[in-house]
Amino acid sequence: MSTSTSGLRLHGFPGGLKMRHHKQVSCRQPPAVAEIPKRLYIPIGQHQGEVGTLRVEPGERVLRGQALTASEDDFVVPAHASTSGKVAGVVEWPASWPPGSSRRCIELISDGCDESIEPQPLPDWQSRDSEAIINHLRAGGLAGLGGAMFPTAAKLRGDWGGLDTLILNGAECEPWISCDEMLMRIRPEAIINGARILARAVSAGRVLIAIEDPMDEVGAALESARRQMDSANIVRIVRIPAIYPEGGERQLIQTLTGLEVPHDGLPQDLGLVCHNVATAAAAFDAVARGWPLTERLVTVTGPGILEPRNFSARIGTRIAELVSQAGGYTDQATRLVLGGPMSGIALPSDDIPITKGSNCILALEADQVSRPHPTLPCINCTECVRVCPAGLLPQLLFKAVAADHEDEAAELNLFDCIECGCCAQVCPSHIPLVDWYRHGKDRLRLKRLDQRRAALAKRRFEARQSRLEKAEAERQARRERRRQKLAAPDQAKSEIQAAIERARGKKD
């Protein structure tokens, strides 16, 4: 599968599936700017990690770009007001993950003015050190826009040593999703400049922007922007064959470099750091233009949508409002999915707001939703092994998890599963493998949590035990001394006598 593109030898990854793209559906029209809704629901915690403390009071008027939560460290990403208006309060609002849950959101009532704070760019960023750039990105509320919402500052900071390559992930491999492709078409210069900013933040001397082979228009747009902006000639645009899940971080790295990220390691261990193209554009907005992250491109598509297209939507817009601006649902729409058809999450309602990681709203009709097939026993056909991009043994993992043998599943590297869904897609017995792996991972996490708790309790119990024993021993020793003194009254008397003598001696 290795081909040569612009001098870089491509390597490929094991497994994967070729799929129909369905991307052109939402790419026919340029992205529309979504209307700012009357009420926005901005989740306080939109990233992986802890939630920052609130910095606004109910009833307070806020401006677009104003920080709503504080950020104490790199893992606490601030949320910003997406438009100007009044903070109505903090409400529990439906969230996409975990399914059926709710999350604390700031309810913001727009005043229709869309007034912004004074933009705060980082002047002269080309000569700033990485510390200043990363702090600015953190204040700008950046979290991975590819979907995982990992805090960008936390990914960039750190003394990794020998970090030489920044990879920008434009390989949007999942069917239907086209927001990154659209972004690369309409804002190539923001991406190239964002790439330079991120590269400067980690002092990387090389940037690889990976796009998929079929993205002709994107390739041309990025190339011309690169010629204009990239005077140092560090950016390179690489086309890779379109195989799902090539946009997975580890798969992309393997395709580009031939190196496998160690299973308990990070790309940084290989001298690489990987970001989404949309994160790069947001980095440009934050650093060069001074705008915090308050909007993103969202694909609203699928056969269940009347006029599929991309929207530039404010964070906190309810999905229902985007869908109505995309013409609404068709009569046959039966399933709403956040993300793509392979790794997305089925949504219980369209009240859920757009967050920093929401890339695609997909409405499917009944015949695209796989019917709940009866699950048949595993027949060991190993189709799943053939397609697994992480090189795991899905059939053995399934058996271990189904038998509640979590430790065995951990030995089979359950945590290396990226939940891409390839195995479940090809399984002739219709076993919902990814659901099993998620169940197994959660059980294993819970078990490890319990083990940590038990170890802590054991340590504390033993510490208390030894303290009590010591105290008891001291008490015994004291009692023993007293007893001995009482047993020898003569000695006590002579000691008293000696003390009296001493005192007299001092007086004289």
């Binding site: 169940h439 819970l446 038990a454 054991k458 035990q465």
Partner: protein, 182 residues
Amino acid sequence: MLAAILTLAAMVAVIGLVLLWLGRRFMPDEESLVEQINARLPQTQCAQCGYPGCRPYAEAIASGEADINQCPPGGDEGVRDLADLLGVEPKPLDERCGEHKPPLVAIIDEDRCIGCTLCIQACPVDAIIGAARQMHTVLLDECTGCELCLPPCPVDCIDLVERERPTVWPRPERIAIRVRAA
């Protein structure tokens, strides 16, 4: 004939000695067995088993004094674990010791606490802080939910609530194969 008997006797003696030595050399160490049992106990230190803590219970199991089904916090799963380790048949939890409950934590109603320090002395893992005539509070991360602080409290201001735990993705249910009606 005699030579054969002597040879065989000598062989039996030598092999017997070697086996005896090997048996001594690799005898299961009492201490390490206690450690292994203790590692499988939930470390709640609740004393519901009748021993003053998990380690004393582990020692009692190792010496054959206690049975493996006396730990309510461990539940049936814990009994199975111990049975696996000791190579015995698992048995249902001994109901006299108590019932299996989801993980709990103690919470002190701080308005009602009079600061008597009795619960502090009862806590087996030092998870309650406070001082005489000062309000007490529970360190939630350290609390094991053993309930030992409940009986000494003179004003009944301690409650046990279910510990918040991360949600687990539900176990996929089998969709039954439809059988054609006969």
